[in-house]
């Protein structure tokens, strides 16, 4: 009985985290690409590293987000030989992407502050 409750708690925890991450994937992607071009798997790894291993974007959501950002002109992609292994599809942030990143960052700061106030209560 105890075991089942623990599993359920973990599952709920993952579900909440996944939902919170869903809307922030473009922000996280643009942020890590600001430092230089990366390919898909590297982007996921870099996000995990920078979050201290706290979260990794869903790989199923990462690639649609990358391709949508590319379609919007926020990213540019090109096939190149990687330092190790076969050719990779590298993503690079564009001027449009930098503008979008600023927008997303401001939105996120405002949003997280508001959520913090609500969650922390009136004395926060």
């Amino acid at each position: 009985m105890r075991c089942i409750r623990t599993r359920g708690t973990v599952a709920t925890h993952d579900k909440i985290r996944a939902q919170l991450l869903k809307g922030t994937t473009p922000l996280l992607v643009l942020t890590v690409l600001k430092d230089g071009e990366l390919y898909g798997y590297e982007i996921a790894q870099r996000i995990r590293e920078r979050s201290g291993g706290a979260f990794t974007p869903s790989e199923g959501a990462l690639y649609p987000a990358l391709h949508a950002l590319e379609a919007d002109g926020a990213l540019e992609a090109s096939w190149r030989e990687s330092d190790r292994g076969p050719r990779r599809r590298y993503y690079r942030i564009t001027r449009v992407g930098l503008g979008l990143l600023d927008q997303h960052a401001q939105e996120w700061a405002s949003f997280s502050l508001s959520v913090g106030k609500v969650v922390g209560g009136p004395n926060q």
């Binding site: 199923g60 379609a71 096939w79 076969p86 050719r87």
Partner: protein
């Protein structure tokens, strides 16, 4: 001259831009274009990975180049992911299952990736690019069609010349003043234009909107069929014949076929084909001019044969008896004539006469009767009714009527008379004839179908 050069420049720019646009768009439709050099599946990869990638490819509703790129990228990702999981201590098969699980169901991933590519902006670009490519393709195809038609005519003439040399029977396509040949050439050039236009539109819109050609083809098939049917049946004016009319009806069918049949195949060497068509057309034109020059010179050098001409029976009596001279004012049949200002405004016949001098005459009409074909003069005795009869409008000292021979299917040769009911109530010809001539039908396919004769 400057206007002509301007039009030529615009057409050249349109065609050149279109060909470049189609070529650029087709890069997305060719699976090998941007995806060359992608690593193929490693021999050691599990069947599960290959199966996942296959399901992903099926669910991607994107052009072939995008499908190749996306599947190549996901394949690379899986390779990295599996290797990392193995480093973490997973056994290979468990690593594969875990890596695939992290990506989620292939169908869902494919749907999301397709959706990410197919933005509204790209859809609008595809629609606009498709319309532009259709216009350019129509011009290019039409020019190519004309060149092709001339080529066929020249080949046909050479073939018939050969048959004639061999004393074999030669089909006579020129007996109707080449109307059939001309109408077929006109419809044929539109057929080629419609085919090129529709195919260009499908490929360009698919490439720009990041959709598969077969997913956008039905739209362009319907749009092309409607637009080209309207153009072929109502708008394209010129000589008409039944074979040409049937060819016009084929235009929308060809447009649909061009949009749907083997549409996934890219149009290879568009520029090369355009150049070949242009070169072929130019050579054909030069050959035609040379042939005409040779025929003209041959005619000049041949001796003129003068035959004694007996006065033929013109069969004018079929129309009505000639009115007695005493009932007619002087010069009734000579002070008049006819004008044919343009191919579409009909032929106006007039007779200068003082209306008061025809006070005893009623129901004046201009009657056109079918003439004998070829070089024989006179009315065709096989007909007992006029081709067309038009009431004469009196205007001061002139009686006139306009007859639209160009809207009659079978009015290649005609004679026109002014007739009226004389003082005794009988119909008479007021003079011999106002003249004879020949006309060819000129109008749209719809005009041809609805023509009275």
């Amino acid at each position: 001259m400057i206007g002509l050069l301007g039009i030529l420049s615009v057409l050249t720019l349109l065609v050149g831009t279109t060909v470049a646009l189609v070529r650029w768009s087709e890069r997305r439709l060719d699976p090998g274009a941007d995806a060359r050099g992608l690593s193929g599946p490693a021999a050691t990869e599990a069947d599960a990975v290959a199966s996942y990638l296959d399901r992903l490819k099926v669910s991607l509703t994107l052009p072939a180049a995008d499908v190749a790129e996306v599947s190549g990228e996901i394949q690379d990702h899986l390779r990295d992911s599996i290797a990392a999981l193995e480093d973490e201590g997973f056994v290979y098969l468990d690593a594969v299952i875990e890596a695939l699980g992290r990506l989620g169901p292939a169908a869902e991933l494919g749907r999301q990736l397709s959706s990410a590519h197919q933005s509204t902006r790209r859809l609008l670009a595809g629609a606009g690019g498709g319309v532009f490519a259709a216009a350019g393709g129509l011009v290019l195809g039409w020019i190519g069609g004309i060149a092709l038609a001339y080529l066929v005519v020249i080949c046909g003439a050479l073939g018939f010349g050969l048959l004639s040399r061999l004393a074999l029977p030669v089909p006579d396509f020129g007996s109707d003043g080449n109307v059939t040949v001309n109408s077929l050439m006109m419809a044929g050039s539109l057929l080629v234009g419609a085919a090129v236009s529709t195919r260009y539109a499908v490929h360009t819109s698919a490439g720009l909107s990041r959709r598969t050609p077969h997913s956008v083809a039905p739209f362009w098939a319907v749009a092309g069929a409607i637009a080209f049917a309207w153009l072929a049946v109502f708008e394209m004016r010129g000589p008409q014949s039944w074979p040409g009319f049937v060819a016009c009806l084929c235009v929308p069918v060809v447009s649909i076929g061009a949009a749907l049949v083997r549409i996934e195949r890219t149009i290879t060497h568009a520029v090369r084909w355009a150049l070949l068509a242009g070169l072929g057309g130019s050579l054909t034109l030069l050959a035609s001019l040379g042939l005409m020059l040779a025929v003209t010179l041959a005619d000049r050098s041949s001796p003129t044969v003068t035959a004694s001409q007996a006065e033929p029976d013109m069969h004018f009596g079929l129309v009505a008896p000639l009115a007695p001279q005493v009932w007619l004012p002087d010069g009734t049949t000579t002070d008049g004539g006819w004008t044919q200002p343009s191919q579409e405004s009909g032929t106006t016949f007039y007779v200068d006469i003082d209306a008061t001098e025809l006070a005893n005459w009623h129901d004046l009409r201009f009657e056109a009767w079918r003439g004998l074909d070829d070089n024989e003069a006179g009315l065709d005795p096989g007909f007992s009714t006029p081709l067309v009869s038009q009431p004469a409008a009196r205007d001061g000292t002139t009686v006139a009527a306009t007859i639209h021979f160009e809207r009659m299917r079978d009015a290649s040769s005609w004679w026109v008379f002014l007739t009226g009911l004389g003082p005794d109530g009988q119909r008479y010809r007021l003079g011999e004839t106002l003249g004879g001539g020949s006309s060819i039908f000129y109008g749209s396919a719809w005009d041809w179908l609805t023509a009275s004769q």
